[in-house]
Amino acid sequence: MGALQHIKHGDWLTLLLGGICVALLVLKLWGEGPADKAIIRSGGKIFRIVSLSRDQQIEVPGPLGISIISILNRKVRIASDPGPRQYCVRQGWLQQSGEIALCLPNQVSVELTGSQKKYDSISY
């Protein structure tokens, strides 16, 4: 491969360090379990904390309009949002603790947590 000639010995070390870094971040930040609660925020403040045990739809108001959050089979997704790019809607279903969907334009977010919350907005 022609590309390999451009990688010097020290570069391999950098690649290794980078790889270890990514691996550690994945293990540390994604190593949670299934979630049991959803924390819904609007404008940065907690709007409602909902248990995942009951299927429901929640309307969350924001500056651009209403974002609708769906809870179904212990999974959560943002069903609709007035924002232009629809990133949060396209993200789909959230299931693991720690997963989060953010609708930046409408300032709405939903975050899943389990029995032990690793990061807390107050204590972090």
Binding site: G10, L15, L29, G98, Y119
Partner: protein, 154 residues
């Protein structure tokens, strides 16, 4: 060189990205080449010029996106100021690019956390950005290396 960097930025904006904030950072190839050929000051000029001109072009000057680009640029330039002193026999543009890429996402995450979304939940996105930094940092470093090598082989 700044014009080429700007051109790459425009090109890159045409490519839809699967996730917000994950970009190949093609214009950084120019920064890396300038760093290798003309030194840090020139690279800093090209980089900052590109960020400002790009934001004027896309109409988001002084918008959050602009500050994200700026913080990314500042942090990566800072790291490059140190990285360029790594012995050239062992470390090339690939290393410079990877270190700069990680510094870049760190700067951006700080701006996001301290100003835009002061919400510990963004920690969930960090592994994605880190992986992207590693992959695109390596790719850009290799591409830059190709151009640098081509001109130095004389």
């Amino acid at each position: 060189m700044a014009a080429i960097a700007l051109g790459l930025t425009v090109l890159e904006n045409a490519i839809p990205s699967p996730l917000p904030g994950v970009k190949p950072g093609l214009a950084n190839i120019v920064t890396l080449i300038v760093l290798a050929r003309y030194g840090w000051r020139a690279a800093a000029w090209v980089s900052l010029l590109r960020v400002v001109a790009g934001s004027l072009l896309f109409g988001n000057f002084l918008a959050p996106g602009f500050f994200l680009s700026l913080s990314g640029a500042f942090c990566s330039l800072l790291v490059l100021a140190f990285a360029q002193h790594l012995p050239a026999r062992w470390f090339g543009p690939v290393s410079h690019s990877i270190y700069a890429a990680f510094a870049h996402i760190t700067g951006q995450m700080l701006v996001v956390y301290l100003w835009l979304i002061p919400h510990a939940g963004i920690a969930y996105l960090i592994p994605v950005f880190a992986a992207a930094a590693l992959v695109f940092g390596t790719a850009n470093g290799l591409i830059a290396s190709r151009f640098i090598g081509a001109s130095e082989s004389a």
